[in-house]
Amino acid sequence: MAAETYIDFVFERLPELWLRTGEHLMLTGVSTGMAIILGVPMGILASRVVRLHGPMLGATGILQTIPSLAMLAILLALTGKIGALPAIIALVLYALLPIVRNTSTGIQSVSPAELEAARGIGMTDHQQLWMVKIPLALPVIVAGIRTAAVTGVGIATLSAFIGAGGLGQFINRGLALSNNNLILLGAIPAALLALIVDFSIAAVVWSLQSRRHRHLQPRMQIVVRTLALLLPFLIGIGGVIAYMSRSGSTSKIEDQSHKRKVVIASKNFTEQLILGELMAQLIEQQTDIYVVRRFNLGGTMICHGGLVNGEIDIYAEYTGTGLTAILKKEVLSDPDKAFKVVAREYRNQFDIEWLQPFGFNNTYAITVRKRDAHLHGWEKISDLTSAAPDLRAGFTSEFAERPDGYPGLQKVYGYNFGEVRDLDPTLMYKALAKEEVDVICAFATDGRIAAYDLKPLLDDRGFFPPYYAAPVIRAKMLKAHPEIRDVLAPLSGLLDDVTMQHLNYEVDGKKRSPQDVVSKFLKSHNLLN
C-alpha cells in the first residue's frame, strides 16, 4: 500500500484511534495504579515478615505464568463479566510481581550500616521504614513500577479478547482479517505508548533525584520537579478522560434503549465477524432494537461464558464445538443428531436456544499445499499415511488438544506427524503457504484456502464431526424479543460452504471490511434496502 493511501487509512480511523488509545491508557493506568496500591504494601510486608517473603513472591510469580487467555477465561468465570473489569483485574495480577519483588528487595538491600545508624539514633520501626528504608529503596521500587507499567502497555493489548477495547482491538481485528495495516494501527501506537509511559516514569525518577537539578533556581526546581513527578498521572488521567468521554456517549445511547438492546458477539476470526455482522445488520434494519457489537472476543470459552452470564445475547456457534468443547460429549457424525443434542442440552443446562443453522459445515479440513498434493497424488487424509513422519504440522492449540482434533485423528487414521507446532488460527494459512509447515487443520470454509492455493483433503474415514454454524441466543432475550427469531430466519440455510468461502475470501483475500461485504450480500438477497 502506498504511503498516501496508508495515511488516508489512518486518517479515516483517527477518531477510533483516539478512543482506543484512551481505553488503552485507562486500562494500563488504572491497573498499574491499583497494582502499586496493592503491591507496595505487599512488598513492605514481605520484607518485614520473613515467613511471608517466599510465599508472596511465589504467588505473584505463579500469577504471571498463567497464560493471558486462560487468565481472562478464569476471571470471566469468577466475575461473570466481560469488558474492562476482568481486563483490569488481569492486568493488576500481572503487574504485581515486579512491584512486590522490587519493593521487598529494595527494602532488604538497604545497607546494614544505615539501618544500624537509624536504630542507634533512636528511630522507631515506623520511622526507620518511612525515613530511611523506603526513601533508600525508592529507586528500586520505581524501577519495578516502571517494568510493570511498560509491560502493562503490552499486555493490555490482550484486553480486546474480553471486549475491553484498547489498541489490541486493532491488532485482533487485523489478525482476524489478515490485514497488516490494521495490525500496525494497533501495534505502532502501543509501542509509542510504551515509550511514553517509560519516559514519564523516567521523569519521575529524575525528579526524585534531588541533587540532579541543583543548578536550577529554587522556584524553577519546584516547577520542573512537580511537573516531572506528575507526568505519569497526567497521562493516566488523560486516558481516563478519553475513556469516560467515550463510555459517556455510548452509555447514553445504551440507557435510552435500555430495554431494547441486544449484544451480539463474535470470536476472533473472519467468519465469526461476518456471521456477527449478518445478524447485527438484519436486526438493526428490521427492528428498533439497539445492537451492541462485542466482536473479536478471545475464543469459545469467553463467548460461551459471556452468553451464560448474560453479558452477551447472541453469537454464532458451531454444533461440533458445542458438543465437544462445551458439553464435553462424544463426537456425533450425524449432523441432525448433533444439532438435536446441542439444542436440547443448551436449553436444559444454560437456558440458551439454538436457532436454525446458516447452512455451511465449517468442519476441520486437513489441508496441504495444492502443489504438494499434485506432486504426491494426495487426495484423501489416508493418503498421507506413509509421508506423515516427515511432515511438519501446524495446528491451532485447540485442535491439538480436542478429542475431535489431532488426538482422535491419530487414532482413526493411525499415523503421527513428524512435528506438531501450535499456530494461531490466523497465521497457519500463511505458514503453510510459506512452507514453514506442510499440513494444517484448516477450516473448511476459510477464504484463504483459495487465496493461498491450498488443498483440503477428503475425510475418507468420516472422522471430523459436523460443525454447522447457527445463532445461539439467550432464551430470556428470545422471550423478550421473539421477533429476533423471525428476523434471523432468512439466514437459515442461506450460506452453503462455497458461499461462506466466498464471503470469507472477500474479507481475507480482497481486504474488504466485513460490514461492506455483509451489506452487499444482504442487498443481493433483498434482505436489506
Partner: protein, 252 residues
C-alpha cells in the same frame, strides 16, 4: 554517670558469653576507652548501654536511671552514638543528617538548621559549603566529622563512640583524635569510646578499660595500666607497641 554492674551477655543461651560479669563506672565528664582486640566484647558492651543489645543479666544505668526502665527509642535519642561505619543517610543532605535526631524530638525547622550550622562550625566544616551537600560528596574524614556532629545534635550528656576512626587513614585519624580531644575539653561530655588501637586509647582515654574474652582485665589511667598491669594479658598488650616503637627507633 554510666554504671554497669555485673553485666553479662550470651548470644547462645548461656553456652558462651560475649560479655561476662562486667562492672564499670564512668564518671560525669569522663572519657573511658574500652580497649581490646576484635571479639573481646567491647562493642557488645557499648550497644547494651543504649539497648541496641539487651543484656542477659546485670544492671546498667545512665544518669542514675536503669536503662531497662526506659523506652529504648527515647533512651537512644538522649545518648549520642557515633558508628564505626559512619552510617550517614545518603538520601539526606548534611544539614538533614545532623538535624535528624532533633527532628525526631520535634524541633522546628529553623532551630534544626541553626543547630546544624553551629555543629558544622564546631567540627570545622563551613556550613555555607557543606550544609546542602550529600554524604557521598564528602571525604571519609569529613563524613565522620558529620557523624560526630549528628551524635551531638540534640546536645546529649552521653556519647558512645564505636571505633569511629577505625576506617580512616592514619593521618586523618590523628587529626580527628586531636579535634575530639579539644572538643571534649570544651563540651564536658561523658564519653565511652571503643577501640582496638592502643595509641588511640592512650591519647583519648581519661581511663582505659582493657577487655579480653568478655571480661574486664583491668581499668585505670594510662600510667597505671602501663606501669602496673594486673594481668599477663595487659602486660603483653602494652609491651608489643613498645617493641614496635623500638624498631622505628632503629631506623631513625
Amino acid at each position: 554517670m554510666i554504671q554497669l554492674i555485673k553485666v553479662s551477655k550470651s548470644f547462645d543461651g548461656g553456652l558462651s558469653y560475649a560479655v561476662k560479669d562486667l562492672s564499670l563506672d564512668v564518671a560525669e565528664g569522663e572519657t573511658v576507652v574500652l580497649l581490646g582486640s576484635s571479639g573481646c566484647g567491647k562493642t557488645t558492651t557499648l550497644k547494651m548501654i543504649n539497648r541496641l543489645i539487651e543484656p542477659t543479666s546485670g544492671l546498667i544505668s545512665v544518669g542514675g536511671q536503669d536503662v531497662t526502665s526506659q523506652e529504648p527509642v527515647l533512651l537512644r535519642r538522649k545518648i549520642g552514638y557515633v558508628f564505626q561505619e559512619i552510617g550517614l543517610f545518603p538520601h539526606m543532605t548534611i544539614e538533614q543528617n545532623i538535624g535528624i535526631v532533633p527532628k525526631l524530638l520535634g524541633w522546628d525547622k529553623n532551630r534544626r538548621r541553626l543547630r546544624a550550622c553551629e555543629l558544622l562550625e564546631l567540627m570545622g566544616l563551613n556550613p555555607g559549603v557543606f550544609a546542602n551537600r550529600y554524604p557521598d560528596e564528602l571525604s571519609g574524614g569529613q563524613q565522620q566529622r558529620v557523624g560526630v556532629a549528628r551524635a551531638l545534635s540534640a546536645n546529649p550528656n552521653y556519647l558512645l563512640m564505636d571505633e569511629p576512626f577505625g576506617a580512616l587513614d592514619a593521618l586523618t585519624r590523628d587529626t580527628l583524635q586531636q579535634e575530639l580531644l579539644s572538643l571534649k575539653e570544651r563540651l564536658k561530655k561523658t564519653i565511652i569510646f571503643v577501640t582496638h588501637d592502643i595509641f588511640e586509647a592512650i591519647t583519648l582515654g581519661d581511663r582505659i578499660a582493657i577487655l579480653h574474652e568478655g571480661k574486664l582485665e583491668q581499668i585505670g589511667t594510662k600510667e597505671i595500666v602501663y606501669n602496673h598491669p594486673e594481668s599477663q594479658f595487659v602486660a603483653e598488650l602494652f609491651s608489643k607497641p613498645a617493641k614496635q616503637l623500638a624498631v622505628f627507633k632503629e631506623i631513625t
